[in-house]
């Protein structure tokens, strides 16, 4: 473990500011699914799946990481569905936030808590 000091964690405010900037306002809640383990034993690699019917993009944020940004999936007409999976780092127990941009221009949001027993930032 090469980390000496944990940087300050992203606040809820920083996360919501990122959501509003991305969505151009506060998204409506619901219409986005987040699949993640309730308890992750290793925060270095946590499987996560997001989906939202009709979404052209889905952004993932981790509200308790040093920086909330995780990644954004972009879908096209050749996507079989607006669904994708990846593996992410979580510094500790926190909420995952997913924001979907829909084809009609609306935005939707969901959040889900993941409990982490060993953090993914060396802590």
């Amino acid at each position: 473990v090469g980390l000496i000091r944990m940087p300050a964690h992203a606040s809820e405010e920083a996360t919501m500011a990122a959501v509003k900037e991305y969505a151009g306002g506060m998204p409506e809640t619901g219409g986005v699914e987040i699949g993640a383990p309730e308890i992750a034993e290793n925060g270095n690699t946590v499987p996560i799946e997001v989906s939202a019917d009709g979404a052209t993009e889905i952004m993932i944020l981790a509200a308790g990481n040093p920086n909330p940004g995780v990644g954004t999936f972009h879908f096209t007409e050749m996507s079989a569905e607006s669904r994708a999976s990846t593996r992410i780092r979580l510094a500790g127990t926190q909420d995952i936030v997913a924001v979907a941009k829909m084809a009609d221009g609306s935005t939707k949001m969901a959040r889900r808590e993941v409990k982490v027993t060993i953090g993914g930032c060396g802590g």
């Binding site: 090469g2 920086n67 990644g71 999936f73 972009h74 079989a80 990846t86």
Partner: protein, 109 residues
């Protein structure tokens, strides 16, 4: 540094218009830029893959922007529906501008 090697799981054949699941993995440390060297106390510079794209016969079909919170050896799974046979190409772009790629052929019937 370990060799950066992409691996993908793509079916050789698919039915037109049906969902095809694509799984991709690339060996890469995804150095976040937030870890400190234990001996020197200095930050280890950030070096991550910041973009992944899948192209089918030259058209972007799926892409992803990545931040340092993506785990080492980035894994991405998504699905596509195809109407014609062709080549799916995957490209991963590193912070230093390097692009790692791999291609697979899919026969669509």
């Amino acid at each position: 540094m370990a060799k950066i090697k992409p691996r993908v799981k793509v079916p050789k054949k698919a039915k037109a218009g049906e969902a095809v699941t694509i799984k991709t993995l690339i060996s890469h440390p995804m150095e976040s830029g937030q870890r400190k060297d234990r001996k020197t106390g200095e930050l280890i510079p950030r070096k991550i893959i910041n973009k992944f794209v899948a192209k089918y016969n030259g058209t972007d079909v799926f892409w992803m922007d990545m931040e340092p919170a993506i785990a080492a050896n980035p894994y991405v799974e998504f699905s596509v529906k195809l109407s014609e046979s062709g080549t799916i190409r995957f490209e991963w772009t590193d912070d230093d501008g390097s692009v790692y790629d791999i291609e697979k052929k899919i026969t669509v019937a």
